[in-house]
Amino acid sequence: MTIEPQLILLPILIPLLGAGVALLLRKRRPYQAGWSLGSMLLSCGVSLWLFVDVWQTGRPLVWQGGGWLAPFGITLVADILALFFVVMTQLVMVTGMVYALGSGDKAVKYPAFLVLFLTLCTGLTGAFMTGDIFNMYVFAELLVISGTVLTAISDDKFGTEAAYKYFYMSLLASFLMLLGIGCLYVSYGTLNMADLSGRIQAQPDGLLLLPAIGFLLATFMIKSAVFPFHFWQPDFHAASPTAVSAMLSSVVVKLGVYGFLRMTFLLFAAQAVQMRGLLLVLGLVGILFGGLSAIGTHNVKRMLAYSTLAQIGFILVGIGWGTPLALTAALVFAFNHSLIKAAMLMLAGFVASRASVKSAAFDVVTGVGRPLPAAGLLFFIGSLALAGIPPTSGFVSKLLLFSSGIEAAAFWPLLILGLFSILTLVYTMRAFMRIWWQEPAAGISTKPAGDHLLAPILLIGLILVLGIWASPLVEAAQAVSAWVADPAAYVAAVLGN
């Protein structure tokens, strides 16, 4: 037995350990900031290294919790799918922390902020990496409590209300997930996902299998803010601290996407056709609904939140088509969307921090961007990326998704997809024109100082790099999609036979 499988704990333990130490350093702000950022960077680096390692060896690393072999202990599985999402998460969360450290908000200076930020990262990373469905529930709880508190303590006094709503809706998700897990445990007597997969295949008429699918699907739809489970998403963003909303709308919503992948390929392969059809339809509805809502709203951050609904819709369409190419497209789309949406929300937050009243409402931020050309350029590039226009990474996503639709000969969805994707251009460009070009309303001026632009610069830079030098990400996604299509390899790796 080598020590190697223990290493996959690092992306979970480094932030968690970091959180513990950051709590001890709560009265020494500079040390706490440095330590937290260091932990995030280290953890991100380790995840990237693990990803490359697993990609190259072609087999996952499996941690059998405490030496109790699956299915008896808790298993963490660092397969390439999980690590893909982990790398995405940690990359974006590093920039999120950079933004938080450069932010003028009061909330980010509370002793607990960075601690909670790190646990948010732990929760999300763990939820991706775990191979045990109940353990996923526990990690999701960590995610929810961190997100809730981070929002509640926002400078905006509506933060508490937003957090309250988020918490309740997440509680509903937890409840549904628990029901789903219960159904599976009653039917198959195990919680290990690999074990479940094998047993479900062996005995496809499990007593409560079908309701479990419904419950879990609903859970992940809440997590990913899929219409009509999206309600927590928009209300949350206007009030949440920028660094937090940038994480929740970019990487946290990907938990659901990850869940759909695991469900359709690993757990419930027999019902995959039904699930895919559903995801396709809901994805298309989400694209329309999210796009229209983004046009109809009066706040940049809310607009971007609605945009997430639409963008998740694109990803769901990819999952719904389910071909290897479509899957690659969905993964690339998910990765790029995380970067883009985080950057855009940070830029919206940046603008809000320079507005005379700290708010992202159009009434307040109209014209505020005029003296801020650098942020304007970044926002413009971000808008292009969101709309899938080259040379940004968003174009690569759109290109792959369209190609996969053509390959899958899915004309009608493709037509609807194309028709609705113009909405993205409409709302982002309108927002850009309002903030950077339009005349500010009387009495509105731009404050001389606000949040720091470094984090969005990093993200937008990455978006451009991934738009031009796209092959590493695409090849990685392709490897992931090939791996996902072979659930037997996953099961064998976990159960060791």
Binding site: Q6, L16, L17, A19, G20, V21, L24, W63, G65, G66, F72, G73, I74, A107, Y110, A112, V115, L116, G123, G126, F134, N135, E141, L142, S146, A152, T160, M169, C183, V186, G189, T190, D195, P211, G214, F215, F231, W232, D235, L278, L292, G296, T297, Y306, A387, I389, P390, F395, L399, F402, S421, I422, L423, V426, M433, W437, Q438, S471, V474, E475
Partner: protein, 960 residues
């Protein structure tokens, strides 16, 4: 010069130019070198590009094609590349040549403007994209640059971004060309999917496969839509007049000579692959004709010089599109001549319009007139270009019209095509008349308009293309010219085309038609004012502008409706989500078809005397659950909830699950205490008001019904599932037998629940204690930090210092009868907690219950002694430290075990390792340390909550 350098050098040169242009953003540099002089430097870049592109022309005339490729997405075999043949060269040369003129012209146009560097940067960026577009070697490269031109065009149109009209025009053009772009992408991907390659070289040779594909119509429609949107074809033409809000140099460049020809370029490029079908013919011919007529007709009624030019451009683009559709040698000859002629005269006219605007301050035809005296050079330029536009000899435009008319004598649709072309030609002649005669000749119409001649460099730019319009035909010099055009036409057509630039071909049908067109045009010009008045009266009952506006309004309406759903009420959200979740479950499960008769009634066959107890606790649970709904005092509702929890605990005891029961009891009590303390924090008046409002605001009947339906739905689903789960007992757990068999031996735990918590599923526990800790930390941060920011605090904190939380119950010092037991209880709780941790592995009770028990004792302290005294007497009780140490201890413990056993969170007996003699049943093992960690974290979290609730700063004024 290798192919690679030849192809890349122009693009890189232009990019360099962009970078140099950007350097002038620097204020001192900009002040040192004004824009009028910057441009001489900047114009060098397109000039160099032009020269490089000109070098291989003779090779191109021989039919050589220059290629360059680079891998982009190797997994999908996607490459980016360049492709330079005569057809590309035709456009590339126009782009760079006119580009030089525009850059110089713009320097004068923006004379004295500090931020004109933006214009130069956008223009050079556009030039790069446009050049890349026509030199693209595959559909991807083409699309990338295609979108690049859309974006830079958007930026140029909105150059004067403070002007709402400029923004609206820019947005409209982006909306239409962007929409076209999406269609184009899909169309091109279809083309490459069917042909199996993205490269022009392969696509152009797989015409047969494409035409016989079942997707032919789809891909043709998509590609054509993209091209039509870009080239302002009817009905997508509406963006072009709006784009006239761009600065005139941009209009002259993008919206006449270059960008709008991108669609022409693409369709002709694809002709060998997609053309030669009846769909192609009819699509291009019909759209082209509609565009011609629409542009020519609407152009006549324009007041704005630029508007007039915009519509005549639309008409010309229609002509070109129509020519592509004709599929014969003659039409492709007309196509290349038309492109060159139009690029020359239209850019000159636009620049003249810019000069007029610049020097007189207006572009309104009805206000201008008699400018020839003040602006003789401009007049000469306008006259030359105008003659060419009118199609009069001896201009290049005449030749273009001749060849066009010759081409319209196509066997299909001959009379219609010829008639439409003649009519359009006539209208364009009239428009040229409007531009030249009515502006420069006659008398000034508006005495307030003062004119003077433009500076020489500004005149130079339009003079060159205007002069070329004449020179090319007068001096049909080297054979290369016509050979080059012939090669370009052949590249697009797919087979050989003969081009001669001779002006006079003898008396033939085209000449006759031309004479008709000129006569008719003169008549129209003569009657221009009555005609325009008639046009204005006729108005436009339906224009496509309205359609565009309608689409936007529809989007806004849709957005309004969609955002209505997000109305902010958690209740509604939850109802929708619950109903959706229930539907999902039924979607997969199908409608339940169980018959109750088949079920064995579960679990109610209680053995013996326990039956009564179970029944009692069931009653307590359901009764108190109902009570929480109907009790309207918050305090009673909380008590009822607590009773429900305790009733559940009884049920657990009887199950028998003593561990779970114990946890349930202590958690229940802790939450009761915290809730009550929270209530005590709220001012009584506020609480009562909230209660009254809560019960006064009865929801309406439909709302109640809605909520009831949702509740019943989810209730039924859960009941159904529980029932199914219960009746199918004994369920087959895979893991429990293993735990029972191995717990004692492997972990040293007699109690498998304990073993599960700290050994088998230790990761769950580690994360759960973090969750619990964060809850406490969160409450503390929210109340002690954020609430302050939110302004929830009374301002004068000092005034309310002496409250119950500082001193004890009711703001008074508690009596010794209370203080003594409270004092004594803490050590007892500590001992109890330690015992629970020591034997947690074998007995009910563990680190969690230990933490809660100690926490409860501390809670009593807070109530009895008050905040200040408790904090003073228990200095070790530092919540954040407890949490941090707890979580860190758990992790460090795990790491230490890893060092010995290679398993993080594994099990190891430290005592055994060092050989400590210990009392029976107690082990200093990793499990024990883990229990301590749990206890610390839980205690820390509870303390945080108590601290937050008991902090005197929290106290509202008036409760003291």
């Amino acid at each position: 010069m290798t192919q690679t350098t030849l192809l890349l050098a122009p693009l890189i040169t232009l990019l360099l130019g962009t970078a140099v242009g950007f350097v002038f953003a620097h204020p001192t540099l900009n002040a040192r070198l004004p824009i009028t002089r910057q441009v001489w430097l900047l114009a060098l870049f397109p000039l160099i590009a032009f020269i490089i592109l000109l070098l291989p022309v003779s090779a191109l005339n021989d039919g050589q094609i220059f290629l360059w490729r680079v891998e982009w997405l190797p997994p999908f075999g996607l490459q980016l590349g360049l492709y330079y043949d005569s057809w590309s060269a035709l456009f590339a040369l126009i782009i760079t040549f006119i580009g030089v003129l525009i850059v110089i012209y713009a320097g004068q146009y923006f004379n004295g403007q500090q931020d004109a560097w933006r214009f130069q940067v956008y223009t050079l960026l556009f030039m790069t994209s446009m050049l890349g577009l026509v030199m693209a070697g595959d559909v991807l490269t083409l699309f990338i640059f295609w979108e690049g031109t859309s974006i830079t065009s958007y930026l140029l149109i909105a150059y004067k971004y403070k002007d709402p009209e400029a923004r609206a025009g820019a947005f409209r053009s982006l909306f239409i060309t962007g929409g076209g772009g999406i269609a184009l992408l899909a169309g091109l991907l279809f083309v490459s999917y069917v042909s199996g390659s993205t490269q022009w070289t392969d696509i152009l040779s797989s015409g047969d496969r494409l035409r016989s594909s079942e997707f032919y119509t789809v891909m043709l429609a998509l590609v054509a839509f993209g091209a039509f949107a870009k080239s302002a074809q009817f009905p997508a033409h509406i963006w072009l007049p709006g784009a006239m809000s761009a600065p005139t140099p941009a209009s002259a460049y993008l919206h006449s000579a270059t960008m709008v020809k991108a669609g022409i370029y693409l369709m002709a490029r694809l002709n060998p692959a997609l053309g030669f079908t009846s769909q192609w013919f009819f699509l291009l011919t019909v759209v082209g004709m509609a565009t011609m007529l629409c542009g020519a007709y609407l152009g006549l009624k324009q007041k704005d010089l630029k508007g007039l030019l915009a519509y005549s451009t639309i008409a010309q683009l229609g002509i070109l599109m129509l020519l592509i559709g004709q599929e014969d040698e003659e039409s492709y000859k007309a196509l290349v001549i038309g492109i060159v002629a139009h690029a020359l005269y239209k850019s000159a006219l636009f620049m003249v319009a810019g000069i007029i605007d610049h020097e007189t301050g207006t572009r309104d035809i009805t206000r201008l007139g008699g400018l020839r005296r003040a602006m003789p050079v401009s007049f000469a330029i306008a006259l030359l270009a105008g003659l060419s536009m009118a199609g009069l000899p001896p201009m290049f435009g005449f030749l273009a019209k001749e060849t066009l008319l010759a081409a319209t004598l196509h066997p299909n649709l001959q009379p219609v095509l010829a008639a439409v072309s003649v009519f359009t030609g006539a209208l364009m002649l009239a428009q040229a008349g409007l531009f030249v005669i009515d502006t420069f000749l006659g008398q000034p119409r508006d005495p307030t308009v003062h004119a003077h001649e433009a500076p020489q460099p500004m005149l130079l730019s339009p003079a060159i293309p205007a002069a070329l319009s004449l020179i090319i035909v007068l001096l049909p010099g080297p054979k290369e010219e016509s050979a080059f055009l012939a090669a370009a036409a052949a590249a697009a057509f797919g087979s050989k085309v003969k081009v001669s630039l001779a002006l006079f071909h003898g008396l033939n049908a085209p000449l006759l038609l031309s004479i008709i067109a000129i006569t008719l045009g003169s008549v129209i010009w003569y009657f221009r004012w009555p005609l325009r008045a008639w046009q204005d009266r006729l108005g436009a009952a339906f224009t496509f502008n309205r359609l565009y506006a309608g689409v936007l309004v529809a989007m806004d309406k849709g957005g309004y409706v969609a955002t209505r759903l997000q109305q902010g009420k958690l209740r509604t959200y939850l109802v929708i989500m619950i109903l959706a979740a229930v539907s999902l479950v039924f979607f997969f499960m199908g409608w339940p078809t169980y018959s109750l008769a088949g079920l064995t009634w579960p679990g109610l066959d209680f053995p013996g005397e326990m039956a009564l107890l179970r029944f009692f606790s069931l009653l307590v649970v359901t009764g108190s659950a109902l009570a929480t709904l109907v009790l309207n005092r918050d305090f009673y509702a909380i008590l009822a909830m607590s009773a429900m929890g305790l009733g559940t605990a009884v049920w657990f005891v009887l199950e028998p699950a003593p561990d779970v029961a114990l946890v349930q009891i202590v958690v229940d009590i802790l939450s009761l205490v915290i809730l009550v303390l929270t209530l005590a924090k709220l001012p009584r008046a506020q609480r009562l008001k909230a209660q009254r409002m809560r019960w006064a605001e009865r929801p309406s009947r439909p709302l109640l019904l809605r909520d009831a339906i949702a509740s019943i739905a989810i209730g039924c689903v859960v009941a159904l599932i529980t029932l199914t789960a219960l009746t199918s007992r004994p369920r087959l757990s895979q893991v429990t037998p293993y735990y029972i068999a191995n717990a004692k031996e492997e972990t040293g735990a007699a109690d498998i629940v304990g073993a599960i918590i700290v050994d088998f599923r230790a990761m769950d526990t580690l994360i759960e204690i973090t969750v619990f800790s964060l809850a406490g930390l969160g409450v503390f941060t929210l109340l002690n930090y954020a609430a302050r920011t939110h302004g929830d605090h009374a301002q004068g904190e000092k005034k309310v210092r002496r409250t119950f939380s500082t001193l004890g119950i009711g703001g008074r010092r508690a009596s010794p009868f209370l203080r003594a037991p409270a004092y004594a209880l803490l050590p007892v709780a500590l001992v109890l907690g330690i015992v629970q941790m020591m034997f947690g592995h074998d007995q009910p009770g563990d680190g969690f219950t230990a933490g809660v028990v100690i926490g409860l004792a501390v809670a009593l302290w807070y109530v009895v002694f008050g905040y200040t005294e408790t904090r003073a007497r228990l200095p070790w009780l530092r919540a954040s430290v407890l949490i941090a140490v707890g979580v860190l201890l758990a992790i460090v413990n795990g790491i230490i075990v890893t060092l010995f056993t290679d398993h993080f969170l594994g099990n190891m007996d430290y005592g055994e390792l060092v050989g400590l003699p210990l009392p029976g049943g107690f082990h200093i093992s990793s499990s024990f340390l883990f229990e301590i960690a749990i206890c610390l974290a839980v205690l820390g979290s509870a303390t945080h909550m108590l601290n937050a609730l008991g902090h005197p700063g929290e106290e509202e004024e008036g409760t003291a």
